[in-house]
Symmetry: C2
Subunit: 769 residues, 2 copies
């Protein structure tokens, strides 16, 4: 039960939300949770990872491939579909364990005949181009049924049309519909093969300029089941005929293997994923379900196949947010993969290596040295972020925003991600295969962006936008300066590491980058960089220079000033801009990232100060407030924020439209945030130096949480209750791992189980005081 996302009945208002909620994917392909009879109007989308297109001056965005699952039924000549005809019952479900989507609908014809359609589909986690669907139909009375199934190239486009020059190929019953993208003339091909069962009507081709359907009409006996299985391959590539051939071959092969075998291969992959990552919560079914669902969403978009794609901010749920990769990946999703699937974490961080040239181009464009990563990154690393990202609702004019120009922390985040991969895995390969170069170039950029304040003897970072985008162009944003300081440290450590272990490589790299003089600069800057510190009196860390001079208005008052519900609170004239109201965790995010550097008192003071001033205009905010609330012993507050982040794609309560612009889609950062809130927060797990620290702070009602952890190839299972931590060290482990539980340090040997009692004190108090 706790693995099934289910919905009974059909609510047309939920079509868009369900498209996200019942989403399927395999990291290479995303398929929205829509039904076979749906079209682009219902935001049907089959989105390949890493393929982008730009039409005219519009936003560059992913393309949606033709929909290979498109299927229309007719009973006695009448169309049968949830949007057009009566139905007696409808149910749709998604099994998170094997990622199979099912629907079962009983339609009723105008003559009162019941036609039951069931379908079941999966996006293969084994063959990443493959979608397989099985469809069954049964009638309550004898009659005539017609099915049209095929490939619908009339796709949903936000800033299209992206596909043109459609072509149809056919070989031995396998049909391929291909098209070219507008900008780069890449081929996208969707091929389809069908195995009919019991349906013996003559198959007819029904084709249009951009679609290829097959039509079969057959006599349907009452109570008898008729079915077919579709094998769909979605591929893209440079060459049209090669790509088409590859897709058709893949379909042919899949048809040969058959549904059952493909499903079982697929399920085996999913088993592996869950074994590595599933977290068990005992005592809170709701939290268990929401957390599992969050992990499901991460699994379906995680690129296991390529280090040239990363995870976009809206996953693979369509073209929203330009399919762009933001800092979300490193800061909100990467931890989950680092602790459970380092091979995917590696792909995610290597993506920055493959987009380094774009980052160099961006730095140069602004007159800086080094690598300034794209705020909105696509396949080349060039920045898809425009200078005008928001429309002013009062004038309908584009509004200048400073997301692209000023969020320099993106380069710090990218470097941080690479270093974290090394820290968690001990694998130097990412550093050697370009990661070190990225780190050095990021540090070089950040130095190049900095200024020295002569009369204060310090480096500063001016004119930046921190996580709180409602305050653009600020000086010495605490989060940014702390991240930059960390990047300088990482860069210097990287050089030390390479010097020691790969001296020739190191010399070559420094020479290639002409980095000799820079190293001295980085050392100076690291020593003299100003990072805002807690005020000795109030313990508050000012979010940026002058923040405390802004109007200190409370959130309800600010909201009472809103004249148009869609008005943007930031930007030049935004309501929040001149106040202390923030969009999302900013100082508090820093306190999470650098949790070891700040006292509990400082964390408490800042959490209490910033929390009521946070508008949570970003889905990245809640999880951070949850994490720090756990850290300061307030699991009640943490729980509230945890549930908010963990259910975001289940409830669909986030904003779906701004004006006519669809901005919905899934929220992988919030999903990753749910994992962080549970494991780094409630379970209190972290890796410090070589030690795994566990400092749990379980919410009320949670009897236990069980967490798989994989650090440097060593597998552990932590079973945590209010009173104890049980460590199971996998028998395949090759080294002894130090754990620090409370103040106690224990050594976990291969195959051993250790039980450590927790000190009973310290769980109360928290923010209540």
């Amino acid at each position: 039960m706790s693995w099934i996302v289910e919905q009974s009945g059909f609510d047309p208002d939920k079509i868009t939300i369900n498209g996200n909620k019942f989403m399927q994917g395999n990291g290479a392909l995303g398929y929205r949770g829509t039904l076979e009879e749906f079209t682009k109007e219902q935001l049907t989308a089959c989105t390949p990872a890493g393929l982008y297109d730009k039409v005219g001056d519009q936003w560059r965005e992913p393309i949606n491939a033709p929909n290979g699952l498109s299927t229309r039924w007719f009973g006695d000549g009448e169309p049968l579909g949830l949007l057009t005809s009566r139905h007696e019952s409808h149910m749709q479900s998604l099994n998170m364990r094997n990622a199979v989507f099912q629907r079962a609908t009983t339609f009723v014809t105008s003559g009162g005949k019941q036609v039951e359609v069931r379908s079941s589909r999966f996006i293969s986690m084994r063959k990443l181009d493959l979608i397989v669907m099985q469809v069954e139909v049964r009638c309550s009375e004898d009659g005539e049924l017609t099915v049209e199934t095929g490939i619908d190239g009339d796709v949903w486009d936000i800033n299209g049309p992206h596909l043109e020059d459609f072509a149809i190929a056919e070989q031995a019953g396998i049909v391929g519909l291909s098209a070219l993208t507008h900008e780069l003339r890449q081929t996208v091909c969707v091929a389809e093969g069908i195995v009919w069962s019991g349906i013996d009507g003559a198959e007819m081709s029904v084709r249009s300029a951009n679609s290829a359907y097959r039509k079969a009409a057959f006599a349907c006996k009452a109570g008898q089941t008729y079915s077919f299985t579709k094998y769909v391959s979605v591929q893209f590539g440079e060459d049209q005929s090669e790509t088409t051939q590859a897709a058709m071959n893949s379909v042919k092969e899949a048809m040969g293997a058959g549904y059952e075998r493909l499903l079982s291969e697929h399920e085996r992959e999913w088993e592996r994923k869950w074994a590595a990552s599933d977290v068990q919560i005992d005592g809170d079914d709701e939290a268990q379900f929401a957390l599992r669902y969050s992990l499901y969403q991460l699994h379906i978009i995680a690129p296991s196949h390529s280090e040239k794609v990363s995870i976009p901010a809206r996953g693979l749920s369509g073209q929203v947010y330009k399919g762009a990769v933001f800092w979300d990946t490193e800061m909100f999703m990467l931890p989950f993969f680092l602790y459970s699937q380092p091979e995917i974490a590696r792909n995610l961080v290597m993506y920055r290596v493959h987009t380094l040239e774009g980052a160099r181009r961006k730095a140069a464009e602004y007159g800086y040295r080094g690598a300034y990563f794209a705020w909105e990154s696509q396949e080349t690393g060039d920045d898809a972020c425009t200078l005008f990202n928001v429309t002013d609702v009062f004038t309908n004019r584009p509004m200048r925003t400073y997301f692209r120009d000023k969020q320099i922390h993106i380069s710090a985040d990218a470097a941080h991600g690479i270093w974290e991969y090394y820290r968690f895995t001990g694998d130097e390969s990412a550093l050697l295969e370009g990661g070190a170069e990225v780190i050095l170039e990021c540090a070089r950029f950040l130095h190049s962006y900095s200024y020295y304040k002569v009369d204060k003897n310090r480096y500063e970072l001016l004119d930046v936008t921190g996580p709180d985008e409602y305050h653009e162009r600020v000086n010495n944003n605490a989060f940014t300066n702390a991240m930059v300081s960390m990047t300088l440290e990482i860069a210097l450590e990287t050089v030390e590491l390479l010097k020691e272990k790969h001296p020739a490589f190191c010399n070559e790299l420094l020479a290639k980058l002409e980095f000799a003089g820079d190293l001295e600069h980085l050392r100076d800057m690291h020593r003299e960089l100003y990072v805002p510190q807690p005020d000795p009196e109030t313990l508050l860390i000012e979010q940026f220079d002058g923040y405390m001079k802004l109007e200190d208005v409370d959130l309800p008052t600010l909201k009472s000033r809103i004249l148009n519900k869609n008005e943007y609170l930031g930007g030049g004239n935004g309501l929040a801009t001149t106040t202390r109201i923030l969009k999302q965790a900013d100082v508090v995010l820093m306190l999470h990232l650098l949790k070891d550097r700040y006292s509990e008192e400082v964390k408490k003071a800042n959490w209490r100060y910033y929390e009521p001033r946070t508008e949570h205009g970003s889905s990245l905010s809640s999880c951070i407030y949850a994490l720090v609330a756990s850290d300061i012993g307030s699991p009640d507050w943490a729980y509230k924020y945890f549930m908010k982040t963990a259910t975001i794609d289940l409830t669909g309560e986030s904003k779906q439209y701004v004006g006519t612009l669809y901005i919905g889609g899934t929220h992988p950062a919030a999903n990753g945030g749910a994992w962080m809130a549970a494991i780094l927060g409630f379970a209190g797990v972290r890796l410090t130096g070589g030690e795994i620290v566990v400092k749990p702070s379980l919410p009320q009602g949670w009897k236990s949480i069980t967490v798989p952890v994989l650090i440097k190839g060593q597998q552990f299972r932590l079973h945590i209750t209010a009173n104890e931590v049980v460590i199971d060290s996998n028998s395949s482990n090759s080294t002894v791992q130090t754990f620090k539980i409370g103040e106690e340090r224990v050594q976990a040997e291969s195959g051993s189980q250790l039980t450590i009692r927790l000190d009973g004190a310290g769980s109360g108090g928290g923010l209540a005081g």
Copy 2:
């Protein structure tokens, strides 16, 4: 004829404009050009210089004193006034030579009787608290006339009410109406005495809470003239009874002296002013008139009495612009006084000495050292400029502007003004009496504001607003950086000068300011400050970092985007903000100030580039385009801009209202700009090193221009035609002065006349190419 500003007929729509156009004053008092029967509704205002008040959260602004000239006539019981009754004729005039305002109106009663009222008034240039008015009346038929004349305390307030606790005193027929200001409880007292002539009706008192009138009813014989003279003193001070007594004494004394003597004393002062400053243009009456009018406007607001007041941006024409002193004074008005009345120039620059503490407070408020002068300065030097200076017309919300925080060039301008005074007069007293301290503190502030860019080895000035306020918060504004460089130079020169000539004073000053370490900083910064230079290809100087990347839209296109005629083009979401359209001369102003440092080619290229992109949203803009057009040999273009700046208060074509907010008033910077365009531009006079350079570029039709010049106490008269320059050196001169005319250097000895032929070439070309 060319001295009289005149208007026949009465146009109610011109009341506000005429209030500015017929303005009178003496530097201590301003009196708007309204009529005696007008009240606050017609923006009647008698504004003392240097007295400010603040009510609640409203803008701090000058107060308007009670109107001592208020007079109402009744003919056979009917009120007679331009606003309420019929009139047969009306004429009003202002004689610029002696600053006497006259009106003559023939009213017609409902019975058809003609009543002619004439009045004549002046604001004494000798006794600065004194206003004198003579009124005559004559009827066409016998009848009953009543006059009510007195002091009207129901004054025009923009952000008032400023006056409270009114009190009336009376001594020997002299009436004093006093009130206290709201904030500082200063007393303002207006006292009035009357001498009747031919009016023998019993004088009655008519008093209200805030007014004191006298009423006289008398039988009026046809054709006979009846008259009275009012002597009004306007004073303010700390103590109510002292101030009242002083005002009443002054009236008593004035009554003793009588109208004629007071007028002739007043006229003698005006003679002196014109002798020192009048410029004669032969061949262009229109230009002559407009230029003379511009000088008139400067004379009536120039503080001859105090170094604690300077000239506000709207002169003394009311409360507009908070009565605040901007950079306008130093950069646009000071040159006129430097060349003609150095004692007033001294007052203007010493004002910065007296407001230094306010500038120190402002610097400290923002975390800087030194002196950051107020963008909008009042009597204390604290900044009257608010952070929200404009109302967003689309939301009616206050809009954040960066006038106060970021226009750091104000401190450079203040230092520049002091140094210019020294350079033109050779008078070290201003430096010794605080001017040197101001210069050093300004330089210190500018250093403290600066940052060092390590990887470019240079100082930069970041996050500033230059003259072009449509582009706030820019980096390395060329004008600002050049002005800062100049300030550093001035500061270093000041120290050199003091060391050499006043070593003890110098040491004491440096010790008092703890300036030892700063000197080194200033030298470093002066050597390494980045000042944007002409591009070697295009010769263009980029207005600020990134300007050339902004949208290059033309002005008509930009204007076609305007949705609301009152919308502000700058600010967060302003239409000009993201384009290259500028509010006012910025780079071109720099080319004027540093005209010796840039080649004619550079000036031409930049004038041509920036001129079509300038919206002239400031009245400071036209004169600068005129000046540089003259400099590059385009007197035709210069003439167009000269006439625009010289007629601004004659035509009243500038913006008078933004929404309901009156922003009109006079334009002293444009008036000063007219003088600059004529003398520094067309006549081409300038002081370089010790030499007076003359490089004329006369507009078409100008036969000659004759200019008085006073440099270091030496008086000259320059008579300039297209072919020659005639230098008359006053016989009182004590030194020989070098002039450079074209390439020729001549020595002007005391009492001599030199005629230098001009090289005929070089007058063509200009911008036509």
